[in-house]
Every structure is written in structure tokens, then in C-alpha cells.
Symmetry: C2
Subunit: 373 residues, 2 copies
């Protein structure tokens, strides 16, 4: 059996068309608001088989398959979505949309503001995870899905999944937050802030007004390099690179000596080809602002209205969103007598494990979908 | 009793004056080579009470006391050096010099090259930890000390202490490497490299030729911010900052929201007032190159000639140079039947603990100096 979903087309849905306004958590409004999204599989007659997948910082609506036969790589979670896979497209109707604030087809800082005819840049309002989820809810309405079978995602995708369970408790049956947290730690905020500072220190950034000029590539590359270190683990970097050199001897200069340097520079340079610098600022800020324990300050209280069954998954070597943060979530759910299964997967891959540990994730998620649903 | 050492004067010693050349590990030579240094206490008649303290990345020769009554702060390890302290200046003759490649009085990239009349900038040769220690050996000769009672330091200071025990085994009785490693991990190299990229991405850096122009402050500030996160721990940042805001509400902009952001920006901004951007490149490169297991590739073999007694100290929450790296050192020493005591101090302070855990360090070091000597 061919396990790939094949060719998929990105679609677009307008959440709010002027004069309709989309209200944001900050109190500001935005219009128009467009979402890029993809779907895989078919919605059944009962409309009970819809799975909403939420993407992480640098992800997009393109989860699985290819957009054209020439595409070099499939979507970012192809390992999980397709015929016979964890989210089996013969059984489930899978949906994913690019977040607002993003740069992959949904309305964001690089979109043209119809009021000025120019890109929003920093005049784009700061959006939150709650705003992202609110926009997705409009899309789900549009697709005719009253109640989602499942919401899931890793990292910021997990935050959106959690937000769904408290913003729209009646519309989610199952939630699978992976490698995520209910609120960023000071350390994680610090890494985000340094990344933003690196972008904003680039003189090409020009307070965000670079769209018809030179892209602030060096600043964004440094930000991505910082981020990338936090997605791996000490152990996985040791196994993958150790102290291996690119040449037989030290260069005694400031070019590239170590394999790990070469790898990071490649990651930085390739990222700037595919991501917008202002979106990087907006999306990291949305992650920093995410705090499921607000407004009351009590995580238990805020989760008390959730009605979904949960499968919480963390990774032993994830030091960006460490397991103790998933355990806090599990504990708050249990104190509300909410049905929750928790697994910490033993792995060296660090935070990135949600994109790599396909076998273990597939087994856990298949079982959960079959028995919990 | 006044526990401060009082007013101390920085002194200078010329290691190599033209035509004498100082030979470097890279095969290049350097001349003149000057060291800035300070001493505390008095060398006894037997010349048996000299303690050499080695500084970390951003340190200098000024370990304790003040250089003038107006100084706001004392030296960087004042908690450890002075009358009655761990390195009791009533008993020991304490020496510290700024490393070559540094910017605090010793010859480095910001020194003037007499051949050109201009600062070296990137024409300064890349120096190694072995080179730093070789220069210190000349200073020790100059001070009339045949055999050091003790070499010690934290972080890169610990690397120099280790290098002393293998470069000059007959000249060291005791070694106390703290919060250090025999070789940087891929992750630590990665953080150094991103810091260097941040400096070099600053257009004011101008390939190092900025001395009569604008200082590349923004790039160096970003590098320092990255470094600073690695010196703390997740736990210490949670305790110190948590998610505390600088204002009552989110700003919904890209100014400062969280206390941790404000702290990091302050750290970055104050660092650029006191440190040279090119020195940052050279010293981090020296740390990356440090590998005590070379040239043979066997740490056990390279340590087999060491004759000092060791007290190895690591910190439980240090994730930059984690305890497992100190344990590798201890294990390699023990396989050589070298006398070694090892302590992992339980602390939340992370790598910075060597500058903070004064009580525990004082007790351990006092005992070691008294009983092992």
C-alpha cells in the first residue's frame, strides 16, 4: 500500500471580510483575516471523524504529501498523516491551517494591509495562541464540523491544542498535546527574546519595513541557530556531531572548524529562505504570552471546564519544554477528574522528537484514538 | 577582622620582548607579549605558598579587593580571596593574570601591533588554552616561583588549571578545577559559535576593524545574552524571574514584557561597556579548541603524566559543563592512580555557581589546601 497521501492542494478561507472585524485578545481588530489550510481524507456522514492538527513555530498548513510532484520533501508531519499512519486518512478527516501571524498563506505581518496598500510590518497587531485558535474555530465552522474528534500538535501546536480544550470545550472530544507546556519558563522566554534581539539588531530589519528592500537574513539566521540548539539535546548533538571537524586540523581562524558549526550555519541559512523575520517576532511573542493558568492564576481552575479526554506526551531529553511541565498539566487535569493518559517517551532527540519518534508516537496515538473515541 | 584585601594595583610583565618571540600552538609567533597581573599576600621564604588563580571568559587579573577606593565592586572572586577566606592571603601568595587574547591589559586583538602602529584586530593569531598557560609559566618564573602550591579556576579557568597539570606536571602540587570540562561538547561549541555569528553579523564589526570607528555593541550584546542563559539554570531563572512582568499587563508590542527580558538586555548592554568584541571571538575559540585528550585521543593517556593532587568540583545544575564531564575527568585520573577528590555541589545556580556558592566552596577548598598540601 502506498503510505503517502499524494498530491494535496492548499486552500484558503476568509475568516473576516470587511466590514466584519476579527477581534483580538489585545482589544485590537483585524480584517480581512484569511487562513491557508489543507485537508486530508474525507469527512464522514456523521461529521465525527475530523482531526485538527496544529503546527509549531516554523510549520505551516502543509502537513503531509506534496503540493506538486516536483516537491523535494513532503509536509512537516508526513510520518503521522496518511493511509495506515497514526492519523489514518482512510478513517479520519485531517485539517491543518497556518496560524494567523504566520507567513505561509494566512494573514500575518507580511500580508498587505488593504487600508495602506503596503505590508503591515510592525503595524500588524500582536496575536496570541487564543487568537490563533479563535481563527481556526471559524474554519472548523466553515468546514461543517460541529465537534472535532481530536486536536493535536507538538510544541506551539500543543499549546493551541490545549487552548482549544478550554476555549471550546464542547467542540473537542480528544486532545493530544505533545512536547508542550501550559506556559513558557523564564529560560524559554529568554531564548525567544535573544532570538528577537538578533533579528532586531540586524540593520536590514529597519523596524520591520524591509519588504521592498533587503531581507534581514543574518539576524534571522542567528535567531534560528539559537532556536535550533534548544530543539536538540546535549546527547543527540554529541552523537550526531561530537567534536568532529570539517577539515583534518583546526583552522586557527573564524571560519568553520567543527561539524556542528557547519550544520548550524546551514540551518540558519536555509531557514531565511523560507520564513519571514517579522513573523518570527510575532509567533515567538505569542508563545511567550501563552499562559493557560491565566486569568485566575490557577491552572487547575482554568482547566476545570475542559471536557476532552487527554493523551499528554513528553520527551525525556526535551529541555525546552521539559517533562516536569507536562506533569504539571497532567496533575492539574487529574485534580479536575479529567480523563488523562500520560507518557514520557525515552529518547535522545530532545524537543525535536515530536518530528522524529514516529514509531512510538504512532503506536500511542493509534491506540488512544481507537479506545478513547 | 576586615576580610577585604583592600586596594590592589595591577602590574605588568613582558613575556617576550622583540626580538624574542613567543611561540604559539598554531605555529605562529607573537611579540611583544605582555601580561597584566595582580598578586595578593606574600611569597614565603620557601616559595611554597603560591596559588595561581585562572579566570573565565569575561574575567581579568583583578580577582579581589579594589583597584581604587572609588571602585563600585571588588574583583571577580573577592568572596574566595582575602584574609581568612578560602585562599587566605595571610597564608598564601595569590597570583592572577589576564589571559593572552584578552582585553584587560594583556596582549590581545585590541593591542597595538608595533609593526603597523595599529590594533591587531583579526591579524592577531588565534591562541589556545595551552598558549595562555605557557605565558603564565613565564610570569611564574619571573615571580621566582619554582612550584605552585595550587592552580585553580572555574569554567575556562578550570581548563587552564588542567592544562597546567599536564604541561608543567613538576610545577603544580594541587589542582582545583571547578565547573569545567576536558573538552567542550557539541552543544557548548554550538552556543559559542552562535555568539560569534551574532558579533560578526553586526555590520559595525567590519571584519574586526572597528577600533577607530563604532563598536559592534548590538552583536556583542546578543552574544552575551546567549552566553548568560547558559550560565544560569532553568530552576534559578524560574526562582529569580518566573513569568514576572515589568508592567501590570502585556504590552502587545516588542518592547520589554518580562523581567527576564529586562535582565538579559541589561546584561548585554553592560557587557559591551567592558569587553572587546574581537577578544570575545578569540577567547571562545580557545575554549572550543581545548581538548585535553589530544593529541593521542585518550584522556587517560594525556593525564598520565600529571603529578598534582586534584580536587574536582562540579555543580548539579550546571548544564553548560555538566557533572558527567567532571566525572569523566575524575575517572581518567583514577585510572592513572592519581589522587583525586570529587564533589558535586547541589545547587540551583547553574554554571555561575562557581561565582556564588562561596560557603560550600570555601569549606571544601580550605580543607583540601590544609590536608592535601
Amino acid at each position: 500500500m502506498d503510505k503517502s497521501i499524494g498530491i494535496v492542494e492548499t486552500q484558503y478561507f476568509t475568516v473576516a471580510e470587511p466590514p466584519a472585524q476579527f477581534e483580538l485578545e489585545s482589544g485590537r481588530t483585524l480584517s480581512p483575516v484569511k487562513l491557508a489550510y489543507e485537508t486530508y481524507g474525507k469527512l464522514n456522514a456523521e461529521k465525527s471523524n475530523a482531526v485538527l492538527i496544529l503546527h509549531a513555530l516554523s510549520g505551516d498548513a502543509h502537513v503531509a504529501g506534496k503540493n506538486s510532484p516536483e516537491d523535494r520533501k513532503p509536509g512537516w508531519w508526513d510520518m503521522m498523516v496518511g493511509p495506515g499512519k497514526a492519523f489514518d486518512t482512510r478513517k479520519y478527516f485531517v485539517i491543518c491551517s497556518n496560524v494567523i501571524g504566520g507567513c505561509k498563506g494566512s494573514t500575518g505581518p507580511c500580508s498587505v494591509n488593504p487600508a495602506t496598500g503596503r505590508e503591515y510590518s510592525l503595524s500588524f497587531p500582536v496575536v496570541t495562541v487564543k487568537d490563533m485558535v479563535n481563527a481556526q474555530r471559524h474554519l472548523i465552522d466553515h468546514l461543517g464540523v460541529e465537534r472535532l474528534l481530536c486536536v493535536t500538535g507538538g510544541s506551539m501546536g500543543g499549546m493551541q491544542a490545549l487552548q482549544w480544550t478550554v476555549s471550546y470545550p464542547d467542540r473537542v472530544r480528544l486532545a493530544i498535546p505533545i512536547a508542550t507546556t501550559c506556559r513558557l519558563s523564564a529560560q524559554a522566554i529568554a531564548f525567544d527574546e535573544v532570538g528577537r534581539q538578533a533579528v532586531m539588531a540586524d540593520p536590514e530589519w529597519m523596524r520591520g519595513e524591509y519588504y521592498d528592500k533587503t531581507f534581514p537574513a543574518r539576524g534571522l539566521a542567528v535567531a534560528r541557530m539559537i532556536g535550533h540548539i534548544t530543539y536538540l539535546s546535549d546527547e543527540s548533538m554529541r552523537q550526531k556531531f561530537g567534536r568532529d571537524l570539517v577539515k583534518p586540523e583546526y583552522g586557527y581562524d573564524f571560519l568553520t572548524d567543527f561539524q556542528v558549526e557547519s550544520y548550524l550555519r546551514y540551518q540558519g541559512d536555509s531557514f531565511v529562505q523560507r520564513f519571514d523575520a517579522n513573523s518570527y517576532l510575532y509567533i515567538t511573542k505569542a508563545m511567550d504570552y501563552f499562559d493557560l493558568s491565566q486569568p485566575s492564576g490557577s491552572l487547575r481552575k482554568e482547566l476545570s471546564h475542559a471536557k476532552a479526554k487527554f493523551l499528554v506526551i513528553s520527551f525525556s531529553s526535551d529541555w525546552l519544554f521539559p517533562s516536569y511541565q507536562s506533569k504539571e498539566l497532567v496533575s492539574a487535569l487529574r485534580r479536575n477528574y479529567i480523563d488523562v493518559a500520560y507518557t514520557e517517551i525515552q529518547t535522545h532527540y530532545g524537543h525535536d522528537a515530536f518530528l522524529l519518534e514516529s514509531e512510538t508516537l504512532t503506536q500511542l496515538i493509534k491506540n488512544f484514538l481507537e479506545y478513547a473515541a
